[in-house]
């Protein structure tokens, strides 16, 4: 960033002495535009010494996926986006048959169980119940009076969301793949932590009268930012970052206007 050509130095009109065109010795003041010395790069120093970078929603050490960062003015936009309370989407991979103490496959083993009685239908039934109870929590924590016509209209459109602090709420779950003992779920959630998702996988295992551990948590969407907008490790350079910021500006503006 510092190597890029900076601003041109300011110009100032100074009256400099110059030898008069007449005879020797007489000095005339001639107006000339000269660059201000205070703007010289050696005086000013490098343009950027520190960059203010802020992080969006947290991501675990064991999880992967979209991680939103803000630079400079973007930090303010990050705060606004946080107040929008948009849903995040994760792909969670699980494995039946084991239970560990930290609910992931790298923890200490607690118990091993059989799992051949589990079918996709049973799993989908449990997911439907999870969605149902979380739907109720969604309506309850949104702090809207249920007796108003406004609450009814928002509920019909599905726009009721908690706009303040709330415990983790799951708005939608879907089973993407099911091949015993592995399975993969797509979870849409609000105000969650990755450990909560791992605990949910463990609880799904318990409900199905077996046990499960979480093998993978990957965030594929954070509010308006999807996997397509995210930069992989090979593209962590200035040009890609600048291009990515430019591409997302419009999306972020529309979303903020819509919600706030």
């Amino acid at each position: 960033l510092n190597a890029a050509p900076g601003r041109a130095p300011r110009q100032r009109v100074r009256f400099l002495p110059a030898p008069a065109p007449g005879g020797g010795g007489a000095v005339e003041l001639v107006a000339a535009r000269v660059p201000v010395l205070a703007d010289h790069p050696l005086v000013r120093g490098p343009r950027f010494r520190k960059l203010k970078i802020g992080a969006g929603h947290r991501l675990d050490v064991k999880a992967s996926g979209v991680f939103v960062l803000g630079i400079g003015h973007g930090n303010k936009l990050l705060t606004h986006l946080h107040n929008c309370h948009l849903t995040k989407v994760y792909t969670v991979g699980g494995l039946f048959g084991k239970a560990t103490d930290d609910f992931s496959d790298t923890g200490n083993l607690v118990e091993k169980t059989t799992f051949d009685h589990i079918t996709r239908e049973k799993l989908e039934r449990i997911l439907a119940v999870i969605q149902g109870t979380n739907q109720k929590a969604l309506l309850m924590y949104s702090n809207i009076d249920m007796k108003t016509q406004e609450a009814y209209e928002l509920a019909v459109k599905g726009l009721i969301r908690p706009m303040g602090k709330s415990p983790p709420i799951i708005t939608a779950v879907r089973c993407l793949q099911f091949a015993l003992p592995e399975f993969q779920l797509e979870i849409h959630c609000l105000h969650e932590t990755q450990q909560y998702l791992r605990k949910m996988v463990h609880e799904i295992g318990l409900e199905l009268k077996s046990s499960a551990v979480c093998t993978q948590v990957r965030r594929i969407r954070d509010g308006v930012f999807t996997l397509d907008d995210a930069l992989p490790r090979t593209q962590w350079n200035l040009q890609s970052i600048q291009e990515a910021i430019r591409n997302c500006q419009l999306k972020v503006e529309t979303e903020l206007e819509k919600t706030l």
Partner: protein, 433 residues
């Protein structure tokens, strides 16, 4: 030998070997069956919930529970296949061939639960039954007949069997039990259970209104008896009928596949998807065809909402379910479309997004609709129960005491198979996961 092993954190290989050597537990095998359970909620002091410790606590630390606001599991001896809620009492029936097929609990002041012999005084009967108690039916072949369905009204109940007709018990001051009205009859502690056999074909559905009874036969005809001052017997007059008589009017010759009633209005659905109504219309239930407030002959209701699959009648509001799975409500009261819709004569659809339908799960449909006196219940094909309406003494089961103006999920630990709605309590039959 173990003394020579080095101490320290276990290596990866040791961990893996320990994991493979760990025992495997089995909690459910391949032949694990889903269990059938009964959940109850609502007002408990009448005994209608069947949990005696709510009314008379049996341990010092327990307090009497007037209202059970969330579903509570009721232990039953047999699998319950049919349940019905009356005005302060409940009947549970099982499809078994054992001698005890029907259990009742709640109010018994008019012997609507049969004669329950009191243990303190062998000649008198209980007026309040706090626990599901067997009802002795006078069957000819008790080990072969099966009970198909039960239904309860304000102070009478009907039991439908597969080969021995219909048994009626309870209050008969308006002839709703299908037998001649006896003046000054004392119904409390009565042993009398009447049997009705003469219909044109086998009875396949029995429905109790507040003080009248409806019978639907296999041929698609409807019979009625009981109080008729609002025209709810549909027989063309406003008098009492004490013998089940066939209905005519717009349903003559039509094959009716379902009848419903709970208050003083009745609805019938034909096999072609048309709906017919008669009875009380003070709350605009039949205002689409007539201005009068009582209709005593079945009239066809010309609604253009699609082919109707199921209908349910409440005290002041009605609900129908169409073939596409849409729910339509009309009448008066809390209809389920927010606090602004209080009354309508024309059916209004409840948006399917309120029942869990969304782009994410587009195959959710409402499978059944049921009505209590001022509440509605809907069951989806995923086994979820939605309720809305007036929350009288906690009967909605949402855990809150406020009225519910749009469909709200009831959290039940299992897949809800059927639900019966009463005045201030509800009973549901649930299959565990």
């Amino acid at each position: 030998r173990g003394l020579g092993v080095a101490a320290g954190p276990p290596s990866i290989r040791q961990l893996r070997e320990a994991e493979e050597a760990a025992p495997v537990f089995q909690y459910a095998g391949k032949a694990a069956r889903r269990k059938d359970r009964v959940f109850v909620w609502g007002f408990s002091y009448s005994g209608a919930l069947g949990v005696p410790s709510f009314v008379r606590p049996d341990a010092g630390w327990k307090k009497p529970r007037r209202i059970q606001p969330t579903p509570y599991r009721l232990e039953t001896e047999e699998k319950i296949s049919s349940a019905a809620c009356g005005y302060g009492f409940t009947l549970l029936a099982s499809n078994t061939r054992d001698i005890t097929k029907v259990w009742g609990m709640g109010l018994n002041k008019d012997s609507q639960l049969g004669f329950q012999r009191s243990r303190r005084d062998q000649t008198k009967g209980y007026e309040y039954v706090l626990e599901p108690s067997p009802i002795p039916l006078p069957l000819e072949k008790p080990q072969q007949t099966r009970v198909l369905q039960v239904s309860c009204g304000r102070a009478h109940s009907l039991v439908l069997t597969d080969s021995e007709g219909v048994f009626t018990m309870g209050n008969n001051s308006y002839g709703q039990c299908g037998r001649k009205v006896v003046e000054d009859e004392i119904y409390s502690g009565s042993h009398l259970i009447h049997q009705l056999k003469e219909f044109d074909s086998r009875v396949v559905q029995v429905v109790c209104g507040q003080d009248h009874s409806l019978f639907r036969t296999k041929k698609g005809t409807v019979y009625a008896c009981g109080w008729g001052a609002d025209g709810q017997t549909g027989l063309g007059h406003y008098n009492i009928t004490s013998v089940p008589t066939k209905l005519h009017g717009d349903i003559a010759g039509v094959n009716i596949i379902q009848v419903s009633s709970y208050g003083d209005c009745c609805l019938a659905v034909s096999d072609e998807g048309d709906v017919f109504g008669w009875g009380n219309s003070e709350y605009l239930q039949l205002a689409s065809v007539t201005e009068t407030t009582q209709v005593n002959v079945p009239r066809h209701l010309p609604f253009k909402i699609g082919k109707i699959k199921e209908a349910a009648c409440g005290g002041s509001g009605n609900v129908v379910l169409t073939e596409e799975g849409n729910v339509f409500v009309w009448g008066y009261g809390i209809l389920g479309k927010g606090p602004n819709l209080i009354e309508t004569a024309v059916p209004e659809m409840i948006p399917p997004s309120l029942f869990g339908w969304s782009d994410f799960s587009p195959d959710i449909r409402v499978a059944h609709v049921r009505c209590g006196l001022s509440q509605f219940a809907a069951l989806t094909n995923r086994g979820e129960l939605f309720v809305w309406g007036k929350n009288l003494r906690g009967c909605l089961g949402t855990g809150r005491m406020e009225d519910q103006y749009f469909p709200w999920r009831v959290t039940v630990p299992g897949e809800v198979v059927d639900v019966a709605c009463g005045v201030d309590h509800m009973v549901s039959m649930v299959r565990s996961f």
